[in-house]
Symmetry: C2
Subunit: 324 residues, 2 copies
């Protein structure tokens, strides 16, 4: 009987690990979440994953053929197959390709979550059919995946595409990476919070934000207040959009993509962020690029995006390496 | 008899056009310069070129086989084969592939001068054997050529690689392109002159630079004075290196090259510029890249670099397209 081919996408996060089987049209056949329990180590997580996956496979194997695995994880390296001192996972250096292949004899590919998202957009999302695009993931931090001529940019060591750590202000705000003035320190859920607190210090305007502590405040709350015309919240979005637009224009000067795709929690603020971003983007673009580069929202379903990205990596690699 | 294969490299500048035949080892067989005489139009220049080339070919054809042509010109587009409103050449829009092929039935490839230089470095210069590198041409302006996975980055329309027009200071110095804060407005022969004049306004230090008018001053003179410990000239190099290093670190975050190669007149200032550049570069690099990226000087002979770059484009394209 003819079987439908499927790949497995796994997204390893600090708290939870999500995995799911996906066909080559980007339909999620089944998806499941288990706790990562980072402290118990990588081998424990992979044993747990293997048990779950074997259970699912016994049900699916009549109709589906399991082709390969894509794994998205923080600091994961495409070339080495390892995660290297990932933040939020006290794992040190672990080869996750080998960790998975202890349980299954099948091709496994890994990359970081932002790169996986970019491949997800290319196969199943807003970048379908595009050869040159950039995906910015605006979450707690700012991740990026860059595609040039249909290929993800890995650079010399697999760690290219770190636009969150380009400097947008000399001697600027301190970033979690230790440097100063990184884009991520401004344009991210954490960044906009910091901007709000700077503004509370430097402006006199009354604001509901003056009743919220730093630890209590979320980007979602800032968006909510901006939608109610809170002046500090509005200015925080204006400022964030200005730096985002400028950085997007800088990225265009580098690789001249067809589109830049915005993904992640902060991008969900919609026009609050997009309107000032568009203005700053066009203003900072070199004349020959003006009016020609699309700014798009992610085309991946919010709930499934991590698994779709990781599974897309598997599809893309299996095809490139002619394993399919 | 066995003939040595050769390509023709042509570099079209605002004042002069240099052309020369080059073998596949990067040896210049013969090189010649004629005035561009931009006002008389492109067709006139190409007729003049053709006459000269035919003369040379009658002498060379016994021992050499003419394989193809590479042309480097300002604003030249790899995809369209045209120069599009080039600065310093009042030509409007001219297809220079067609203009050349009116005279010779041979493959012709074009790109801008900064990209041609990058290919020259890859085949014959400091980037031999490298797959990922960036060449910055620090001349009157700042040009760049970016190579990822062994291929020059052209982007969606052929105009990628414009690092000179990335913004390094919000609301910064006016750039010739009309935008504000572009890298080129700071890090170029023109940029360092502007920095000197800003410093003459904001510092009280005595300096020989206070006796030189803006129009008289050259980057070479600034370097000369800096070598004699002129405080303004020294600070101008410090400042220029700081912005150059920061921008190079930003470029690394994008494509993680093996090396960044510095080319052009301002780069010839050597340690005056390199010392502060290195410090700022390492300071602004993301931790995982620190100490791993080489900063190299051009490996192309100064006198022949333009022709070598253009000829290298021809060699590279002929090979990629299996025309050789």
């Amino acid at each position: 009987m003819f079987k439908t081919k499927m790949t497995l996408g796994i997204d390893i996060g600090g708290t939870n690990t999500v995995f799911g089987f996906v066909d080559n049209q980007g339909h999620v056949i089944i998806e499941k979440t288990i706790p990562t329990e980072a402290k118990q180590g990588a081998q424990k997580l992979f044993s747990e994953l293997a048990k779950n996956i074997k259970n699912i496979l016994t049900k699916l194997q009549k109709n589906y053929e399991f082709m390969g695995v894509g794994i998205g994880a923080p600091n994961a390296n495409y070339f080495s197959g390892s995660v290297e001192n990932p933040p939020n996972l006290s794992w040190g250096h672990v080869n996750i390709v080998e960790a998975f292949q202890k349980h299954f004899d099948i091709p496994v590919f890994v990359t970081n979550d932002a790169n996986a998202t970019a491949i997800g957009e290319m196969l199943f999302g807003a970048a379908r059919g595009m050869k040159n695009f950039i995906v910015l993931t605006l979450g707690t931090g700012l991740g990026s995946g860059i595609v040039i001529d249909g290929k993800l940019v890995y650079g010399e060591d697999g760690f290219a595409g770190e636009l969150g750590h380009t400097c947008v202000e000399i001697n600027g705000r301190q970033c979690g990476c230790g440097n100063k003035g990184c884009l991520e320190a401004y344009v991210s859920a954490t960044g906009i919070k910091k901007t709000v607190f700077n503004l509370l210090g430097s402006r006199t305007a009354e604001s509901a934000l003056r009743d919220i502590s730093y630890h209590q405040l979320t980007a979602k709350k800032i968006a909510e207040l901006a939608n109610h015309n809170d002046p500090i919240a509005l200015e925080a979005f204006q400022f964030t959009g200005k730096l985002l637009g400028l950085s997007m224009a800088n990225a265009v000067a580098f690789s001249r993509p067809e589109a830049i795709i915005l993904f992640g929690g902060l991008a969900a603020a919609g026009e609050l962020l997009l309107a000032p971003t568009r203005i700053s983007f066009e203003e900072h673009l070199l004349g020959i690029f003006r009016g020609k580069i699309k700014i798009l929202k992610s085309g991946l379903e919010v709930g499934n995006s991590a698994v779709l990205g990781a599974a897309a990596l598997a599809w893309s690699e299996l095809e490139t390496k002619k394993l399919i």
